[in-house]
């Protein structure tokens, strides 16, 4: 394609942040003023440069619908912020060939004390619409939102659904040549997500350029023709959406903290009473098999008990990528060792998570070892980190992010309870 079809041209963009290091844990228990000042003064010298983006280059052409994927912290949001001019790049240049509208969230700047009507103008102007533009689309926006009756009510009295509908109605009437969307799909109910995806498909089919950042690979694959995979602030791969997403998934699995081991008992995490030797997630199958929503998985822990005659239990806190604890499970009731005193030695405990329980997404496992039913002797916040991927056969055509913390496979049953009525009515 010739350069006359360019929409965005990114050349060597890098972005660094200064991050301050936390002082030692012992020190931070001291909340006195002098300690605070001392800490300030010291951490002033301990600031470290962190490169969120390290030389990203890419060309986006007019009419392209590009998905930007990558793990948390890969630089996706930073790239969007630089593209939307919220923050400046530290190095590099970006040529932008057209009016950009960016939706990094829905309802930016909406004010709870103002009415729906006032917020339409406020939010529209903040998103970059001219007043005349908002006025000419006002009726459409109100229709689309379906909140006509509450137009003159302060939005603080709205239900959260109404609030999101209003916000989205404004955003949907933004008419930029280049649309930048970040994770907007992560909020709202499935109805809203469907609307959102539909609107983006609409924008894309009108030949406008869309840049779409999402964790939701299903949506990315459904909407985008091409994808850019960011890893550690660099473009790892760009091109056809199917290929990039596949490679990403394979890699995401092997890069997660799915198997960690500590061979030396002296330096392994823990203390004089308990040390962790190994934490591992596995599936029943080939070594590098992917964990999907329809495979059972095993959380396996090996550890040394160093205090004789302790009653030990493991407790797992499983969090999803938004930080919500999906569930807590303990080894209480485990058939072999539960309630018995553990002699010193090395032990292995496995927890099976059945197929069809977890939703797709990234999960983090916090491991706790509990002594005598009540005292936490060991805790590791990120003992395991693994990704559960989609199994397209379970989706029944639904393309949005599958809502919910879990996606349990429950049994359903439909029977005809009175077949006669329908027959009568048809007659």
């Amino acid at each position: 394609m010739s350069s006359s079809d360019l929409a965005i041209s990114v050349r060597g963009v890098a972005k660094s942040y200064m991050i301050a290091h936390e002082a030692n844990k012992e020190e931070s228990n001291d909340f006195s003023f002098t300690a605070a000042v001392r800490k300030r003064a010291r951490s002033g010298g301990k600031r470290e440069e962190f490169w969120a983006l390290q030389g990203v280059s890419m060309d986006v052409y007019r009419g392209d619908v590009v998905g930007i994927i990558g793990r948390n912290g890969a630089g996706k949001s930073t790239l969007l912020k630089v593209l939307s001019r919220i923050t400046e790049p530290t190095r590099g240049e970006i040529d932008v060939y057209g009016r950009v509208g960016s939706l990094l969230e829905v309802g930016t700047g909406m004010h709870p004390e103002l009415t729906g009507r006032e917020n339409i103008f406020l939010n529209g102007a903040i998103l970059g619409m001219r007043k005349s533009e908002i006025r000419s689309k006002f009726d459409e926006i109100v229709d689309f939102s379906g909140i006509e009756r509450f137009l003159d009510t302060p939005v603080k009295r709205y239900s959260s659904g109404m609030y999101v509908r209003l916000a989205f109605a404004v955003a949907a009437h933004l008419n930029p040549e280049i649309l930048i969307v970040d994770e907007v799909l992560a909020v709202g109910d499935s109805e809203f997500q469907k609307k959102c995806l539909g609107k983006m498909q609409d924008v894309a089919s009108h030949g406008r350029t869309v840049l779409f950042v999402s964790h939701n690979l299903t949506a990315v694959q459904g909407l985008c023709k091409s994808a850019v995979w960011l890893a550690k602030g660099k473009v790892k791969e760009a091109g056809d959406v199917g290929r990039v997403c596949n490679n990403y998934l394979n890699e995401a699995y092997s890069e997660s903290a799915v198997d960690r081991s500590w061979d030396d008992m002296e330096t392994a995490p823990g203390d004089a009473s308990f040390r962790l030797a190994r934490a591992r997630v596995s599936v029943n199958g080939p070594e590098n098999d992917v964990i999907s929503v329809s495979t059972p998985l095993y959380l396996e822990f090996e550890y040394w008990n160093l205090q004789p005659d302790t009653v030990l239990n493991l407790s797992l806190h499983v969090y999803n990528e938004t930080g919500v604890m999906a569930f807590n499970t303990t080894s209480v009731g485990e058939p072999n060792w539960d309630g018995r005193a553990f002699p010193c030695g090395k032990y292995r405990t496995v927890c099976e998570i059945p197929a069809g329980l977890l939703n797709d997404g990234t999960y983090r496992v916090e491991l706790l070892a509990v002594k005598d039913r009540g005292t936490v002797v060991f805790m590791m916040e990120d003992s395991l980190l693994f990704e559960v991927v989609e199994d397209p056969s379970t989706r029944a055509g639904w393309m949005g992010k599958w809502p919910g913390v879990l996606r349990p496979n429950l049994s359903w049953c439909t029977t005809v309870s009175d077949g006669a009525i329908t027959t009568v009515r048809q007659a």
Partner: protein, 282 residues
Amino acid sequence: METSSTATRAPLYTIRPSTGWSAVNLKELLQYRDLLFVFASRDVKLRYRQTLLGPVWILLQPLMGAGVLSFVFGGIAKLKAPGHMPIFVYSFTGMLGWNVFSGLISKVSVSLVGNTHLISKVYFPRLLLPFSTIFGVLIDFTAALLIVPFLLVAFHITPGLPLLMLPVWVFLLALMGMGIGLCASAVMVLYRDVSPMVSVVMGFLPYISAVGFDLTQVRPEFKHIVVYNPIIGLLEGMRWSLVNLPFSGSANLAYSVVASVAIFFLGIMAFKRMERIFADVI
């Protein structure tokens, strides 16, 4: 379809790291003027939501402020306003000008940290936020100004031609307030310490700015310090225009004018210098 010309289109704009002192992009500010008014009307509308008296506060505030000042300085401290001016009229006209200055400082200084959410989520020229506070301050000023004719009639004062100079004083006070506010707002993004500092200074500054009493009565050893306060000259200008009170001679008018313009541009420069890191540290 596009014509098949291979001529490269010029980009609409290029994003690149800014270096050193950057200029204000007036053209862009003008393009975003709708948003300026939207911010302004948002703030004005929000101010009196869920109040009983609503906009009446615009009138009550300066009246009560001047009342307190004249009670303290006239009633308790027994200070006299110059030229046999009633102390209430003296205080009220002082408050009028002072409120433009201090109102801007207090609103502008928090205009960035009060809109953290916007700054980290959407692009617009950041100067719109501080600039949009002008409208609210000017509305307050205009409302309070409506009281002045009643005072003039009540106290038999006739302003003359100097009245025509009134906008100049307001403009200069606004420049100075905006300049200081811009500096404060930019630094406040990094250090919230600025907020208590501003309120301490703004609580103390009226006493050395001839708001409620005339500084010719100040002890001679302080006089040479007081002349460096550029606000005095502008407040005296306000009184000259509104109630025909001559300049006291304790302030240098030319100095006040130069200082307000200089402070404004310093404020703009500081703001533009810090602007690039707002979203990263706010």
